[in-house]
Amino acid sequence: SSGNSTKDSGTSAKTDQKPVYGGTLTIADLNDAKGLDPHKETSAQSFHYIENMYDTLFRYKDGKYGIIEKDLVNDYTISKDGKTYTLHLHDNVKFHNGDPLTSSDVKYSIERIIKMGVRAQQFDAVKSIDTPDKTTVVITLKQAVAPFLTFLANPMNAIVNKTIVEKNGGKLDQADAGSGPFTLVSWKKDQEMVLKKNKSYFKKGLPYLDKVVFKAIPDSTARSTAIRNKELNIDLQLTAKDKMLLDHASGVTVKSVTGTYWEYIGLNVTKGPLKKKEVRDAIAWAVDRNALNKQVKFGQATPLTGGPIPPGHAYDAKLDTFSKRDTAKAKQLLADAGYPDGFSITLKVGQNQDQVDAAQVIKDQLKAVGIKVNIEQQEDSVFFNALGKKQFEMTIVGWVGFVDPDEFFYNIFHTGGAYNQQGYTNKEVDKLLEEGRVTMDEAKRKQIYDHAQKLIVEDAPMVFLYANKQSTAMTDTVHGFDVNPTVTTKSLESTWLSK
């Protein structure tokens, strides 16, 4: 990883054009942020609003997936044993209120993250943070943490201004304590958030835009109508249907990459027929992922016929178990498990329309092998509560935003994983995942995760369905905006508008 990130203007097609300064860019997302505190927020929607007000030590590389580059950090070293990180900060960074950003702010911020709890486990291994001088931070870990840089690059692990935090009584829900390319002007919940250019941003010449307006428009049709009517510049997240519609709209460009948002059927391995591996396998064979992709996602998602990791990263191309549906095999497996006539089961879903739709198709598909599915829809809050308490038999949900393979696997498939809702346990998998965490060697790590994936797919605690495309629509006047698998608006700092 090298040098200054500003030279690379991401995926912008027209790199030959010269950037133009000024203008107001309007960008729409599904929902409004809940609050603006980077250390407190958990929803991806909130991130998109917050990240442009803050800087992080590292960042995800524009247009690339899983690659980390420096941001506030000018230079750094990692000790051989992977336990000591020495970071040197840029010396010209100022918070929006004019205070300089120094090593003590970094220390304060990491400590605040730990205190706030939400992402504390990413810093579980931190032993000490030292600040030998104003621009140097030394972080010492108890043991090596392979994805530690990825954690530091998480846009919500931002560096905040201690003075502002304290002025707000420790709360940043409505305030801006950042040093990022834009500063907060106003925020009207569910209407719009207005940001303006940070004139003393530490990256010379950036940002280009004078103003950024975020709008929360939950209805996808309303969003796509608005961008067609040029009331918007960017529609950040398109549904498959809207992508189809907007592909042919004039003056609008749709860009998409394979995203990190993958969806699956969760099977509660602690209950009823699903205790049996054969039954779970049978379901995996009975589901037609391609048909599902066509029906629910207009064929635009990438079916996951192997493990959960989408192509392009720690993906294992050889693991391609379920590329074809096999109902005969499924029926055989059910008969072997003692359910020759199938059984009835409840499939719980939340409010996500794609998942609700998928549930209806899956109900139809499982009928073919004799499994009678009752769909039960709940409100998200009730739904997630039930999942957390393992009060479900089958469910359809998805995960989003993981960058490192450890994030993909440990919390979900490890016996003690925080989000192991399926109740899945496999000693061998546990061991592999623990090993992967502390292995710094990339190649070795890939081997470990390939093996773990194979075991997981065989045990079938989940039926992996597909990884979604991340599609963004923008008017032709928008340049330099990065459509990233992790869905981020971070590249607004180098986005510009042509006339």
Binding site: T42, D173, A222, N229, G388, V400, A418
Partner: protein, 314 residues
């Protein structure tokens, strides 16, 4: 008059307390809670426990209620557990939008419906009367959210004349503001117009049978004078009662219409609060809606007294 208003306000207090109790305890019957809603996909039992005790959700419910209602009396509705925003400021942000939507719908509906109702009564028994009767019946039967959807389909998606949703505040200019509310107002106001028209018609028919109308005729008053001077104001008395009932419909309907047209009003806030199990926000919203309802009804009663002097209060 002032005394009457005061009297009405005093009567409203027990109702509001009843509502506060009802909502407070009802909401706590709701499965799932704020914390799960906040954590969503990233639900983690340990973290959830920590958040619950921070929010005081582990205390006895009665105590929670007393603390809350005590604060409410001092004008503090608490903060939204979901967004961290003070509930009162969230409500004050939304209230104008819902009020504008509801009142605009009401006013437009009345302006159209009352003359139509009077004409239908005057021409009663004719084809025009039957036509307006059928139209009125459709008006109260068509679901407002469907009407809204159709309007979007036609005027936004096909004709590209109007924005399909979103709210433009008055600060963006009255034209923009009205443009953003045009379809919502039609969707919400149609039923009100229909109901008002029907009740104006039947009230007018009743009034036209009254002795004082015969008396006016016997005095030599012209038909126009009988209808518009002697008839209308009397007919408005029962109509105002119906309008008062419509306020409830308007506030309830705005929950749906705000959802259809993505208007950030109180209805939408309530819906979000419900799905986020945002207790203090939901309590505040419901209480606010009830207060709004009672206040508007009070205003209507005052107008009522102005129309009908025999119930004017000393």
């Amino acid at each position: 008059m002032g005394k009457y208003i005061l009297h009405r306000l005093i009567i409203a207090v027990p109702i509001l307390i009843g509502i506060s109790i009802l909502t407070f305890f009802l909401i706590r019957l709701v499965p799932g809670d704020t914390v799960t809603a906040i954590l969503g996909t990233n639900y983690d039992p340990k973290l959830a426990h920590k958040l619950r005790s921070e929010m005081g959700l582990d205390q006895p419910v009665i105590l929670q209620y007393l603390i809350w209602i005590g604060h409410v009396f001092m004008g503090d509705f608490g903060t939204s557990s979901f967004t961290g925003q003070p509930v009162l400021s969230a409500l004050m942000e939304r209230l104008p939008i819902t009020l504008e939507l509801a009142l605009l719908s009401l006013v437009v509906a009345l302006i159209i419906a009352i003359p139509l109702g009077v004409l239908a009564a005057y021409k009663h028994g004719t084809r025009a009367d039957y036509a307006s009767g059928t139209f009125g019946m459709f008006g109260i039967s068509v679901p407002n959210f469907w009407l809204g959807t159709l309007l979007i389909l036609i005027f936004s998606l096909h004709l590209h004349l109007l924005p399909s949703g979103g709210y433009q505040p008055l600060s963006k200019g009255i034209g923009e503001n009205l443009r953003s509310l045009l379809m919502p107002v039609i969707a919400l106001g149609t039923a009100v117009a229909a109901v008002t028209m029907r009740s104006t018609r039947s009230a007018m028919l009743d009034v036209l049978n009254e002795d004082y109308i015969k008396m006016a005729k016997a005095k030599g008053a012209s038909n126009a004078r009988i209808i518009w001077k002697h008839g209308l104001r009397n007919a408005l008395v029962p109509v105002m009662t119906v309008v008062g009932i419509q306020i409830g419909y308007l506030l309830g309907g705005s929950v749906i219409i705000e959802q259809v047209f993505a208007l950030p009003g109180m209805g939408r806030l309530a819906l979000q609060a419900i799905s986020n199990r945002d207790y203090s926000l939901l309590q505040g919203t419901i209480l606010f809606v009830a207060v709004t309802f009672i206040m508007i009804n009070l205003i209507i009663d005052v107008i009522y007294g102005w129309i009908n002097p025999s119930i004017r209060y000393k």
